[in-house]
Amino acid sequence: MSERRTIESTLAHSTLTGSNASHDYRPVAVMPDVRVVKIGGQSIMDRGRAALFPILDEIIEARKRGIQVVVLVGGGTRARHIYAIASELEMPTGVIATLGKYIPMQNARMVQMLLAKHGGLYILPDDFEKLPLYLQLGCVPVMSGMPPFGYWEKREEGSRIPPHRTDAGVFLSCEFLGARRAIFIKDEDGLYTDDPKKTPSATHIPRITAKELRERNLPDVVVERVVVDYLPRARWCKELQIVNGLKPGQVLAALEGKDVGTIISA
């Protein structure tokens, strides 16, 4: 029987089954100056014009000031509706994650139509390779925040809902691009000790580490849990910033790199 024909390399004899690659790894940032910002689905898009238009004005203003912005968009109530029905039908998580791609896509297309006259450009997940051109032309690329995992989304213990949704997509986009901070535009000032919409006594947390956040084991958090889990082992994206898009000036401040809302750090 003929032998394995192997190309010699530092990983040639590795099984790659674990994290055994002892390699001199000095990572490079792909596009570190880009600001990746998410427009929430339920928190912003489902509110319509009243909430969305002032946010878009601030994004356009940031772009005029030379800040490179990539906009990702969330799903919202239509996503919840299909998740509820699919869960009742005992659909596997991978099927539910696939269904979950469509609504953020609709929302991203809506945002693109509104931003078109200011350079809004609808892009697909694989279009990251064209970002340098788009941004140099002064465009505002807009895409769905849902990661492209689809049927390959893993199940999480005790739930059928895909653990990687549009917050994860924003974080993972930042991590690939080498951006330091992922910005999430929601309808709250950031992180609270409980859901402020249901528990009025909940108090605001301006700054917290991922470790502290996990230790608190809150019944509810403002960003997807996987993102908080990934943060400590990220190479580039070391901070999540959650800002209130309903308060004028917050989005522009965040895009200019100011500490507003809540900052969760690695």
């Binding site: 029987m1 003929s2 394995r4 024909r5 192997t6 190309i7 390399s9 530092t10 990983l11 040639a12 099984t15 790659l16 089954t17 994290s19 690659a21 390699h23 790894y25 990572p27 490079v28 792909v30 339920q42 509110r47 109530t77 239509r78 919840r80 998740y83 005992e90 659909m91 596997p92 991978g94 099927v95 696939t98 694989d126 990251f128 492209p148 995992f149 049927y151 390959w152 893993k154 199940r155 213990e157 005790g158 739930s159 809902i161 990687h164 949704r165 997509g169 993972l172 690939f176 309808d187 859901d195 919409k197 019944p219 509810d220 960003v223 997807e224 990934y230 082992r233 190479r235 580039w236």
Partner: protein, 278 residues
Amino acid sequence: MNKLVGGDGRTHIESRLMRESLQNKQVLSGTESDRDVQIFPDVSMVSIGGQSIFDRGKDAILPLVAELAEVKKRHKMVIGVGGGTRVRHTMSVAMDLGLPTGGIAQLVGAMEELNAILLNALLAPHGSMPMQRDHFWDLPLYFDAGITPIAISVPPFHFWEPPPLEGAVPMHGSDFGLFQMAEVLGFKQIIFVKDQDGLYDRDPALHADAKKYGRVTLEELIAHPPKENILDEELYRTWAEAKNIKRIVIVNGLKQGELTKALDGEDVGTVITKGGAR
């Protein structure tokens, strides 16, 4: 009829998850049950090793193709392939360049695809076709027509590959990708075709006293993992949370007939089961 609900500035569609935070543990557990629908329960996933089979060339590949051509007449299966040494070379160069994990993940799938094209060129006269990424809903058509699909094995995480637990190598490779495809579609079993008689407690090429597992449970392997593993760790982690797949078989593709026996449901090589399944 569904109602639109307003009153808090947002427009909701009435549903059980309406207004709910999908981070809330109680809300999440309300979506759970003890089963997932099984979409294709009579189909087996067959994964053919990159290093173990394809990198050996003609002597290893042609007899296996002959066996597949024969056994595909009796069994519904989807075939996936690994990328082998070219994947390792890609990663080694990419890591030296300092490319991000997501960038490495975007690159490697191309190397698996080369093996898929080769396999399809050999198996096409007997009825095979490359399957587009997630065109699963074509599967009934494929099987009715006697066509065995060859799937893309690396999952589409690409630029979005999550940060690995350690190091920079992407955690979601072809073993995971094929497992997840079989799991989400509710396949009967997964068969990994390698160049060893099964799973050993350590590398049998280096240790003469390495012990082969005959039948073993996933629970045992997680509690006492073998020193060296021929399947990705991520596969075991994912399988532990999964609902559908109950049986994974590892067979020696260099020995004629082993794959056929595994497809026929015989216990050959190493049989890993989960949750008390046969």
